[in-house]
């Protein structure tokens, strides 16, 4: 039994990738859940908001690179991120002004708002295709690894290598910082408390003099900032391809529902639950079993599902939660 090598392999192939992916999902799910809490509909345009924002960040990154600006070992995209968020937030606020506000005023059914978000999704998708195209784009620069496989092997003397990429570290740090900032905002500031009050009970919040339009604007800006961060980190970690951002909508929705729609804590927990299950179920465990039980020679790869079915994992978790606890693990809204 070779526990050290098994642990390193688990860390390298399961824990680190899943933690990075989980942070990206958590940021995305936070946006979905905030919009659900305040505006009370599932925003189908969220994936394409992520894609559009990331496209903006990529364009700005290229511009910065052309001007010779760089952050040394850190990707230039981080410098472009605030400007990308500002541009995307401006577009999203315009969609609210021209599309969603009307339905809020006439108090339309949530499903009509969902339908409107499908229209916004089409427009955003077209805009993304128009500005940046449909090809796969890699835009990470700077140092690739904090710990590379060779370094780790030389340091530890183990047969199994461990790599920790810069993008993974940045994902974890940025996600942790933004979650901390968001929860501080929601719990400590006046505006954050107004948002929570509006989410809990709209009429009571109106009665106590909270300006609903201001709350809605803040929600859109925060959700967009989270979405663009999630999209940029995902693009840095893997690569940018517009269609992948549409597909990531399913794990993000699943994360938000698993945690309980409307509950920010739930969204973060849901993101990590989905990510860890997805990676654990699609990872071939044969190598790790080989370290732990050297005498056992399994026939297959010990992979529960092939990687093509990773979306099935989020779907199954979603179904299980719907069956056993429809309001989610953290008791979200039931309306």
């Amino acid at each position: 039994m070779d526990i050290a090598n098994a642990l390193v392999a688990i860390l390298n192939f399961v824990v680190i990738p899943a933690a990075a992916y989980g942070s990206q999902l958590a940021l995305g799910a936070l946006g979905v859940t905030l919009i659900y809490g305040i505006l009370r509909f599932s925003n189908f345009a969220h994936g394409d908001t992520m894609a559009f924002g990331t496209a903006m960040v990529i364009l700005l990154t290229w511009a910065l690179q052309a001007m010779g600006v760089s952050l040394g070992p850190i990707p230039t995209a981080l410098l472009a991120l605030p400007f990308g968020i500002a541009l995307t937030a401006a577009l999203v606020l315009m969609t609210d002004r021209w599309v969603y506000r009307h339905y809020r005023r006439v108090r339309a059914d949530p499903i009509v708002l969902v339908m409107a978000s499908v229209g916004v999704m089409f427009v955003m998708n077209g805009l993304t295709r128009l500005v940046i195209g449909v090809e796969e784009i890699r835009f990470d620069d700077g140092a690739r690894f904090i710990i590379s496989v060779q370094q780790f092997k030389a340091w530890s003397g183990l047969a199994e290598g461990l790599s920790f990429r810069t993008t993974q570290a940045i994902t974890l740090i940025v996600a942790a910082l933004s979650c901390w900032a968001l929860f501080r905002f929601l719990n400590r500031t006046r505006s954050g408390k107004a948002m929570r009050a509006y989410s809990d009970n709209e009429d009571l919040a109106l009665l106590s003099g909270i300006d609903p339009e201001r709350v809605v604007r803040m929600t859109w800006i925060i959700a967009t900032a989270l979405a663009v961060m999630a999209g940029t980190l995902y693009g840095l970690d893997k690569s940018f391809k517009a269609f992948n951002y549409f597909q990531i909508l399913l794990p993000i929705f699943a994360a938000a529902i698993v945690g309980g729609l409307g509950s920010p804590t739930g969204a973060v927990a849901g993101g990590f639950i989905i990510a860890f299950s997805e990676v654990a179920v699609t990872y071939p465990w044969k190598k790790i079993a080989g370290y732990l039980f050297p005498t056992w020679q399994p026939d297959g790869l010990l992979q529960l599902l092939s990687t093509e079915y990773k979306f099935a994992v989020s779907f199954v978790i979603l179904i299980v939660v719907l069956l056993f606890r429809p309001t989610g693990l953290f008791r979200g809204k039931s309306v």
Binding site: M115, G133, L250
Partner: protein, 446 residues
């Protein structure tokens, strides 16, 4: 929304006027040859046939949305599942495939199904605290047995003549028979999803169907034993003659000579017309059935449920069960369209099932045409499909006019290169404008 659906009576001339516009558009496409129109009847009829199939998809969506107010975001999955039927029913059997592992695969699928049934029963009988873990244990054991049966069989089937087949093969039955089977496949999947997601909050169904849509397409892409996966399944039999057969037929040759047409063009048009006739018959039959249902007591009950669920429930109607019913019927119609589409193409190409094109564009068709109105859905579908196809050509043509004063350079070539993507923006805007200013669509519900 519910209040405005049945308010003022709409102008009865709207549907005929829209039909007239469509006829003019198709005649222009068939006869005028310029920057905007191709001037080829083959192209016009090609658009018409896909438009008619889109109309059937739109009818399916309209049943779930118009009657039930349910949002099905997985149209693409039910369509793809329906497309499996022509492959499994009507392609020729693959020699040796069934012996290689057919029985074992069927056994594995039965075990998988039984596991789910058993897990449901266990979850219902066991006390609350243990419910989840008991069901989990049943599924875990079932999954191991399933994989033990399934994996070797799949490897054996895929190893059987992998260059040309590698799939389980069909039954060799007539292709028209596979169309209703496609509907049944989609209905079965919809029943499973609906059973779980209906009766909860309305967006849950949307998100669950979004998931099942992606999973069905992923299964069809990756399960090579089923229909060759991404290798595509071609040579699916046709219900109408082949162009080459027609060209070799002396009677057809004589008739074409009488019309004074080119033999190749005439055979293409003949085949497309035969398909169009077949599709129109089915569209009309579906509309007739749908209208009959709408006027029956069942249809009145469905409208009552849609317009006020609480009141309908108070009158003793089982809302969840009725919702499941319309959801399954709608999915069946979409599955039928899927089987017909694969038959028309003669090809099953799982990589081509794009949710934007097959889920959300169909939704645009229904909303633009008029939710709750069958004629509206059909006319809207043909119109939107026509615009979708032509916008790919009109977009660059328009961009060429806009960019004409610009000097040649990177920006101009980028703008010209991405002009075909403008149709996504156009469709989004059309949906938003209709939803906002004419929420009842071009041909509103009566």
């Amino acid at each position: 929304m519910s209040g405005s659906r049945q308010s003022a009576a709409a102008n009865p001339w709207r549907a005929p006027a829209l039909l007239a516009v469509l006829v003019v558009l198709f005649v222009l496409e068939g006869s005028l040859s310029n920057a905007l129109f191709s001037g080829s009847w083959n192209s016009a009829l090609g658009i018409l046939n896909m438009g008619l199939l889109s109309a059937i998809m739109a009818l399916g969506v309209n049943i779930t949305w118009g009657y039930g107010g349910l949002f099905n975001a997985g149209v693409v999955g039910f369509l793809a599942l329906g497309g499996l039927a022509p492959v499994l029913i009507s392609t020729a059997p693959v020699p040796g495939a069934w012996d290689a592992g057919g029985v074992r695969v069927v056994l594995a699928l039965v075990v998988g199904l039984l596991t789910l049934v058993l897990a449901t029963i266990v979850a219902r009988r066991v006390p609350r605290a243990w419910k989840f873990w008991a069901a989990f244990a049943v599924v875990g054991v079932g999954f191991v047995i399933y994989r033990f049966l399934f994996d070797p069989a799949v490897i054996a089937i895929e190893a059987n003549n992998p260059a040309k087949a590698g799939n389980i093969g069909g039954l060799g039955w007539p292709v028209l028979l596979s169309w209703p089977v496609g509907g049944l496949l989609a209905a079965a999947a919809a029943w499973g999803v609906g059973k779980v997601a209906l009766g909860l909050r309305s967006d849950y169904l949307a998100i669950a169907t979004l998931g099942i849509g992606e999973i069905i397409v992923a299964v069809m892409r990756n399960e090579g034993w089923l229909a060759r996966g991404v290798l595509n399944m071609s040579g699916i039999p046709r219900p109408v003659p082949y162009e080459l057969e027609l060209q070799a037929d002396p009677a057809f040759q004589a008739r074409v000579a009488g019309w004074g047409m080119d033999l190749a063009t005439a055979s293409g048009i003949w085949v497309k017309l035969s398909y169009a006739a077949l599709f129109i018959v089915i569209v009309l039959a579906l509309i007739a059935l749908s209208e009959l249902a709408q006027r029956s007591p069942w249809g009145r009950m469905m409208r009552a449920i849609r317009d006020n669920e609480v009141a309908a429930e108070a009158m003793g109607k089982n809302v969840t069960r009725r919702h499941l019913q319309v959801f399954v019927i709608g999915a069946a119609v979409i599955g039928l369209a899927g089987a017909m589409m694969v038959t028309l193409d003669g090809l099953l190409n799982p990589a081509g099932y794009n949710p934007l094109r097959y889920t959300f564009l169909v939704w645009v068709m229904v909303i633009v045409g008029g939710s709750g109105n069958n004629w509206g859905a059909v006319l809207g579908a043909v119109l939107i499909w026509y615009l979708w196809i032509k916008a790919e050509i009109w977009g660059p043509a328009m961009m060429a006019v806009i960019t004409a004063p610009m000097e040649a350079g990177a920006l101009k070539s980028h703008l010209m290169g991405s002009a075909p993507h403008m149709r996504f923006i156009a469709m989004g805007l059309v949906l938003l404008l209709v939803l906002r200013f004419a929420p009842r669509g071009l041909v509103p519900e009566k």
